[in-house]
Assembly symmetry: C2
Homo-oligomer: 533 residues x 2
């Protein structure tokens, strides 16, 4: 099988063989206990000085608002979080950095840091690839107060962008269910690791392949690609081509022999480039046709070369459009092709809205390559993920805010998804003492608007917060393919009105009466009554 | 000196000592020859098959439009590019990945890849931290055609985001010349390396410090930080505090002894948190005051604790605001402080526009912590950097486009900055045969609009494209501090109307008559005349 735009190249590398430059780790080398904000260490020191560092604490990671004006989010980044926790340990380098930064801190504190290990934590939460909603506890981290606190920044860093770009990819997939989607964003990402994260989590969210070779190799993602404008402009004339035999035939001569009529008016250096590329990749011939003029030069040149390839027994693939009015050009190109055997790939500034607009224009594209808008998440480049203390020494805690929607929901909770006949109806945050069972009525309350409540008799109840890591034992090792499959399945299960582009219905996340009571009691006690004057 | 928000902690690490977990490299482990798009290898294979892979080629890296609706860009990422070139080599791992991905390619091609080395390249271009403009050749890469082509994606990945975030930081610095600017974005960046790049290049662009400890350690950037809301909510009452002696005095008792009047109505668990933090960091006491209510609880609690600290001989630092109307709260807080000795730090959703709005409202802040809008470059999350072939075998090449502004400027060029009495007047792209000298008149042409041209007699001419790497010899090793200083100086030298926020003047990039002739000749020859029908 030839290098192909259409057939993915699955790669699995044997890492046991000897290497000169070894295979890079699948994790960034920057993921260490120092990849965090300074204030986490200041707080850990204060806890340690006060002797409260080992109080049992419970933190939750969640977000407050779905991205992209949508009503759902795909959770991603979990496997990296668990890798980080498993390897969490302060070595000599980390200690020496911190001692030099904080020479005024007592030496015993650094011994305490050395004693820390991720094994002291217990983590529950959502499985990677799950479809999730605001305020649901994606991660519930239990352990000694200071150690939990030290996780915050790294967890947010590992899950925030991962979930954002997976959601972005999933949204594009929903708008283009029948088109091949290719991630082309490496050059527009936030440096090397931004590019790697983009490739990995776009694939999780529903993309079919990436152009990023390293991501293909390390994460076993299919890779795709053709050639660039610079390949075309590197040819100055047909004389640039050497003699070339394909199946014993003089390939260039054969092409030029049939170049007549409108085919004789095309750009000759472009034709030279196409002949050269087809000679090197006769079964992978996908030509970028917009260097000079798509319909007057690029497509005719492709057809000329493709017809000779076919005569010689090869299967040319199609063309790529990278500028201009993509829907119009794809329709005109399809007319020139006369049939469906060639693929039309397009790749210029595509986003979710443009995919839908192209659809309205009855485009003729088979695949879309998406870069900038996918990897930068231009429409909303950050997901406001937060990590909040909800319980300490068994006592629930709240973070107040003048905006009621920004208050945290206190206490350790269980998280259930209540299903109707097929689709999820509502998510419910419950006290561990609450019983939430299928076919039994449960009263679901809005967490901050008292008049909003509903009785639900679910046909099925799924507990969403599952054990992930328990004091050194990792309970989850889902592969990227498993997470991708979960994402696809959960998106399929959701009612369409939650998923649509314009004015989607809000999926409700509710609390039980027990949780609401705790919330109200804490709020009453902690919130000062403001004096208006 | 105590851990401080105000005084930076400069850290320099002795990496010679033994380590358990060694110091991470300052480069991402993902920066290898595989961190590129598949099509680069397809093209390299085609060049190799056609025997054109060793043709001498010249590529240029440039962008077409300044970001953020501005009229300047700060160039960054060069040191990483040079590190990549110096280490460019295919090892067994890289070859095994590619052989498995492309089993249909001839084996001799992989031997050819093994023979490649960055030493075969010559690179000229701008110095890191330079203020640059559209179409100026930030990197000029000369070498064998296929090898140059293989650099494209990695160079764009390393320089695109770096330049974008450095420019974003520089713009914020221009709007807030007298305020301390702190980068707080690690949790909102594109994964670990996105966060590291953000910290490094924000500092280059003019920020004073970062919250990111690892960036502080690896790049020698000052670090800052205080405490989070979760520290405050971890306290449930004043009883949570242990007995604590500061300079032999019962610190908690002393604070509570003077708690009366309005100070008695504040939130007690917040007060407990402040007492605890002040005890641990008596010279680093900077309190986050908005957990419950900024003016009714947070600021009074800070003042209570601060007054006792001062009595005991310490220097409390100030407060941090993280929600609400920042200008109003800073003004009211300053009134309550009665003087200037305490700092007011603010950190909620700040961007360039908000900095200017705060200024209009006569805010009282001393420092701003900026995260999301800085590191995601929300206003424009990608810089459209490109890498184009401009010459092959000594012949200039052009990439046409229906948009005249998108055409490339063909041929190997020199790049000069022409100065007036103080400030730069215009940049000029010249043929290597052109002579551009100070105090001599030169005619500068707009590259695509023939009627736009001007005579310039510069008082000073600076060649902007300088030797960076010459066949294995690296000519540039500027430190981050040197690049930061260059950026600051070049921004200072620019006329203010190019730098302003609203409707800045466009800085002109022009070409000499020689360059224009080449451009016009190629365009005439290559561009097909479209048939309208």
């Amino acid at each position: 099988m030839e290098s192909s735009f259409i057939k993915p190249n699955h790669v699995s590398i044997d890492t046991t063989e000897s290497t000169i430059i070894g295979p890079p780790s699948t994790m960034s080398n920057f993921v260490t206990p120092l990849l965090t904000d300074q204030y986490q260490f200041s707080m850990a020191y204060a806890y340690w000085k006060l002797g409260t560092h080992n109080k049992p604490a419970e933190f939750e990671m969640f977000f407050r608002k779905n991205p992209f004006k949508g009503e759902f989010t795909v959770f991603a980044g979990l496997s990296e979080v668990l890798n980080f926790v498993e390897s969490y340990k302060f070595g000599n380098y980390e200690i020496s950095v911190l001692q030099k930064m904080f020479p005024m801190w007592e030496l015993e504190f650094f011994d305490y840091l050395r004693s820390l290990s991720g094994d002291q934590l217990t983590i529950q939460g959502a499985l990677e690839g799950s479809v999730v909603f605001p305020k649901t506890p994606l991660l519930q981290v239990s352990g000694p107060l200071a150690l939990c606190q030290l996780m915050e920044t790294t967890f947010l860093n590992l899950c925030g962008y991962a979930s954002l770009v997976a959601t972005n990819a999933a949204r594009m997939r929903l708008r283009a269910p029948d088109i091949e989607l290719l991630e082309f964003g490496l050059r527009r990402a936030q440096g090397p690791d931004g590019g790697m994260s983009a490739s990995k989590y776009s694939y999780l969210g529903g993309f079919d392949a990436t152009s990023n070779i390293l991501a293909g190799a390390l994460f076993n993602i299919p890779t795709k690609g053709t050639h660039a404008h610079s390949f075309v402009t590197s040819f100055t004339s047909l004389d640039d081509l050497p003699e070339m035999k394909l199946n014993g035939i003089d390939f260039k001569k054969k092409v030029l022999d049939i170049r007549m009529g409108p085919f004789a008016k095309t750009n000759s250096s472009e034709l030279a480039a196409f002949i050269g590329y087809a000679f090197a990749c006769p079964n992978g011939f996908l030509a970028l046709v917009d260097t000079y003029n798509t319909l007057e030069s690029g497509v005719p040149n492709f057809l000329l070369v493709a017809s000779v390839l076919e005569e010689l027994g090869y299967k040319p693939l199609g063309i790529r459009l990278d500028s201009g009015d993509l829907a119009y050009l794809s329709i005109e190109t399809r007319k020139m092709f006369c049939d469906k055997k060639y693929s039309i790939v397009a790749s210029n500034d595509i986003d979710e809205g443009i995919i839908m607009a192209l659809d309205d224009q009855n485009h003729e594209m088979n695949a879309l390559g998406i870069g900038t808008n996918l990897v930068t998440c231009k429409k909303q480049p950050a997901l406001g993920m937060v990590f909040k203390l909800v319980e300490i020494s068994g006592k629930p805690r709240i973070k107040l805010s003048e905006d009621a929607d920004k208050m945290t929901i206190p206490g350790k909770k269980d998280w259930y998804r209540l299903y109707g006949t097929k689709a999820p109806l509502v998510d419910l945050l419950a006290d561990p003492s609450d019983k939430v069972l299928s076919n039994e009525r449960v009263l679901c309350h809005h967490p901050s608007v008292a008049v909003k409540r509903a009785n639900v008799i679910p046909t099925k109840v799924v507990q969403m917060n599952v054990p992930l890591f328990d004091k050194g034992v990792r309970h989850n090792n889902d592969t990227l393919e498993q997470c991708k499959a979960r994402c696809k399945y959960e998106l399929y299960m959701m009612r369409e009105d939650y998923m649509r582009y314009l004015n989607p219905t809000q999926y409700k996340v509710s609390v039980t009466g027990t949780v609401l009571e705790t919330l109200n009691a804490l709020w009453q006690r902690e919130a000062p009554i403001v004096n208006l004057s």
